[in-house]
């Protein structure tokens, strides 16, 4: 049947059709929907793991037990999973093991723009790179064949434009391969030096065998062109830009497997054209390979290694003409993302800013606490870095640092890798204050369950990790819980914990305002006679509040009635009939 599918949905369909039985992932834009879609197939066991390292190790376990398995993550997640990745390369697999990783060129929703293709070469693991949804489905199935044939994990590299574009796919039936038995094989599965030394040559042999396969594989194909003055080597979404820009004008070598790359096929292609050009996003990965083959090649001299490419860009850089539309001669104000109206994070950041604290931030919706007018965050690096960084910041700084610095981290991020940092704080005794922003969901990636929510990926009730007990158990004596909507209490508690001479955790607990089960009191009303136009309510950066003709105005389509703005109004101008009790 022909249907439109997101690239991520098509990968999930490929897993299903290939008879994959076990999926363990951590959410991250733009990879999340692979696992969400996989979870919709009843035949597939799918779960959110606490982090990518756990997910990949779980998927390896399932592979060893004899079931085809999958693990999905975003590019930075592969950094977390890199430890098992490099050694799985040595141990190989039992049943097929496929790892999906989605890059985010252009950083639509990421903290860096790393090019995950380097991992394939570094870990010596083959990587397939689909260019649309049809290929995403096909390559997912092919990945299992390669995994079992060559005894290796296989990476499928997605990118934002392939993951989040719908295109036409033709679906097939699920075929369940015969269950493989687990057999003890210490020299293959126990990677201690004596065994690993014997496995390394196997890894190198495997790469050569895969390279031979790449020479004749149909996924590395040449699209013929009329004009051989220029020949283009490309892959992924860039292939689509090249075809859009030039159609059948120039011959194109489209690589479906990005590591290992063929040698003879590239040499032959280069010999058939006058000029060889590589079109690829981010780093010159294919280009470097071509240079290593001694070929004269153009690539990053034309195309930037920063951001995304597009059909116009490809056309222009290769000498074509493009037309653009007329632009308004007008300053168009930017529209950056903001915390939603009613977001429970907003008031905490207001308090932190008011107290003039140094705030080490983390990865999630609450990173938006860095944006004006809140501007309350000092640092953001990676998952968990707020808590671990706080320890160093407090230990290395003077006494004053401890009383003026906090870490903020979300519930899911805390479980992902904040808890290890907290153990360090307890064990090595730094006088640190950590604020867990517990909104009872993984917010930024679109509401995924996590170990603190009490529900699993399939939506069934499950064991709920109790954050208070967890913090106590790792050695934190002072654990307080506050309602972020109650700003006065929040301020008092934060001050008390900063003053305490031992580490403490403050759990700021209120569910994400966008969760369907959350009931809101309804929009705030402005008493325009009481409103003096002092703009105090504007300092929390709520998208529902604006000033019209010198008076506060509430956008009733956005306002949920959290009442935070009312706590800032000295004149009692912001109220509703259903005044929430935290007021």
């Amino acid at each position: 049947m022909k249907t439109l599918m997101l690239g991520n949905e098509a990968v999930a369909r490929g897993l299903y059709e290939a008879g994959c039985c076990f999926v363990s992932s951590y959410p991250g834009t733009p990879s999340t929907e692979i696992t969400e879609c996989a979870a919709k197939y009843e035949e597939l066991y799918a779960e959110w793991a606490p982090n990518e390292k756990v997910a990949l190790e779980a998927a390896l376990g399932a592979s060893l037990a004899g079931k085809r398995s999958f693990c999905g993550m975003k590019h930075v997640g592969l950094n977390v999973a890199a430890d098992p990745l490099f050694t799985i390369s040595y141990s190989g697999v039992n049943a097929g093991l496929v790892i999906g990783v989605a890059d985010d060129a252009g950083m639509h929703s990421s903290q860096n723009e790393q090019d995950s293709r380097h991992y394939a070469r570094a870990a010596k693991i083959p990587m397939l790179e689909p260019s649309d949804s049809a290929e995403a489905l096909k390559f997912a199935k092919l990945a299992y064949e390669l995994s079992e044939r060559f005894d290796t994990a296989v990476l499928i590299k997605m990118c934002t434009r392939v993951s989040h574009s719908q295109s036409v796919v033709e679906t097939g039936e699920r075929v369940l391969p015969e269950q493989r038995k687990y057999e003890k094989n210490p020299t293959k599965y126990i990677m201690m030096p004596a065994n690993a030394k014997k496995r390394h040559p196997e890894v190198e042999k495997r790469t050569l065998a895969l390279r031979d396969w790449a020479e004749t594989a149909e996924i590395n194909r040449v699209d013929s062109g009329q004009n051989s003055d220029c020949g283009i080597v490309t892959s992924s979404t860039c292939y689509q830009y090249v075809k859009e820009a030039f159609g059948d004008t120039y011959p194109v070598l489209k690589l479906g497997m990005i590591w290992p790359m063929p040698e003879q096929k590239i040499r032959d292609f280069a010999a058939s054209v006058k000029k060889l050009v590589v079109v690829e996003e981010l780093d010159g990965f294919i280009e470097t390979h071509c240079r290593n083959l001694g070929l004269l090649v153009s690539g990053k001299d034309l195309f930037s290694n920063i951001g995304e490419l597009s059909q116009n860009l490809v056309k222009e850089k290769l000498g074509g003409k493009v037309q653009t539309g007329a632009s308004l001669e007008e300053d168009i104000p930017a529209r950056p993302p903001v915390m939603c109206a009613g977001c429970p994070h907003r008031s905490i950041f207001y308090v932190l800013k008011k107290l003039k604290l140094t705030v080490l931030g983390d990865i999630g919706c609450y990173t938006l606490g860095a944006v004006a007018p809140l501007g309350a965050i000092d640092t953001t690096v990676c998952m968990g870095a707020s808590v671990s960084g706080l320890h160093g910041f407090v230990k290395a700084g003077d006494e004053e640092n401890a009383g003026k610095t906090v870490a903020v981290i979300g519930d899911s991020t805390f479980i992902h890798s904040g808890v290890t940092g907290l153990i360090n704080i307890a064990y090595n005794e730094s006088n640190a204050t950590v604020i867990i922003l517990d909104n009872s969901i993984t917010g930024m990636t679109g509401h995924q369950q996590n170990p603190t929510t009490g529900y699993n990926l399939k939506g069934d009730p499950c064991t709920k990790i109790d954050l208070e007990n967890l913090c106590h158990a790792v050695g934190i004596g002072r654990v307080r819980v506050v309602d972020p909507y109650d700003m006065e209490t929040c301020q008092t508690v934060i001050k008390e914990e900063l003053a305490a001479k031992e580490p403490s955790v403050i759990i700021s607990r209120r569910p994400c305002a966008l969760l369907k089960y959350v009931k809101h009191p309804g929009p705030i009303c402005v008493d325009s006679e009481k409103c003096k136009g002092c703009k105090a309510c504007m300092s929390i950066g709520c998208p529902a509040i604006s000033m019209v003709e010198g008076k506060a105005k509430i956008d009733t389509t956005l306002c949920v009635g959290c009442g935070v703005c009312g706590q800032l109004c000295k004149f009692g101008a912001l109220d509703s009939e259903n005044i929430p009790e935290w007021r």
Binding site: K2, T3, L4, L6, T29, P30, T32, H108, S109, D132, R161, V162, H164, S165, Q166, S167, V168, T237, Q240, Y241, K243, E244, S310, Q311, N312, L313, V322, Q323, T324, G325, A326, S327, L328, E330, D331, I332, P333, A334, R335, P336, P337, V338, M339, C340, C365, V371, A372, M444, T445, G446, K535, M538, G541, P543, I545, S546, M547, D555, T556, T557
Partner: protein, 190 residues
Amino acid sequence: METKNIMIVGVGGQGTLLASKLLGRLLLSRGYDVKVSEVHGMSQRGGSVVTYVRWGDRVYSPIIDKGQADCILSFEILEAARYTEYLKPGGRIIVNSQQINPMPVVAGVAEYPENLEEKLKKLGGNVDALDALALAEEAGSSKAVNLVLMGRLARYFDFTQEEWQAAINQSVPPKFLELNKKAFQLGWNT
């Protein structure tokens, strides 16, 4: 057939994804090659969002580049102004005249441009402006802005109202069907 391009732009949370989903499905049912490109993640939180819908005999790129859009369907008027460079000469802009202030305007560090509708018209394209928020409220909920705009967009396609309605029925929860139907009608007729 040359590839046709529609850009759907708006503010994260306005429901732009539903419009592209429905349109994609309808076009596929006509046997076209279709690509629909979406934005997920951080910008969905009240940021500027863009969705591309492309169809034809063979569609390659998932995105629409500058100068390529036959039509921009804008859920908010500043967002229409932001993307005019993407419009083909003579292309059409369908725009909800609603103003949603971006945070720099709310915070007082930038100004919301005035008379955008006139300025858009002066650029030479066909501008079809409507107050979709008022029509959505008339239908029963301010949240139905996306269905009002879809109704208006539908006027420029040769699908029947029944075909649109069938696609809507597949995509929205039954309890909102009446509301959405009414909103779609208001967009189509007004």
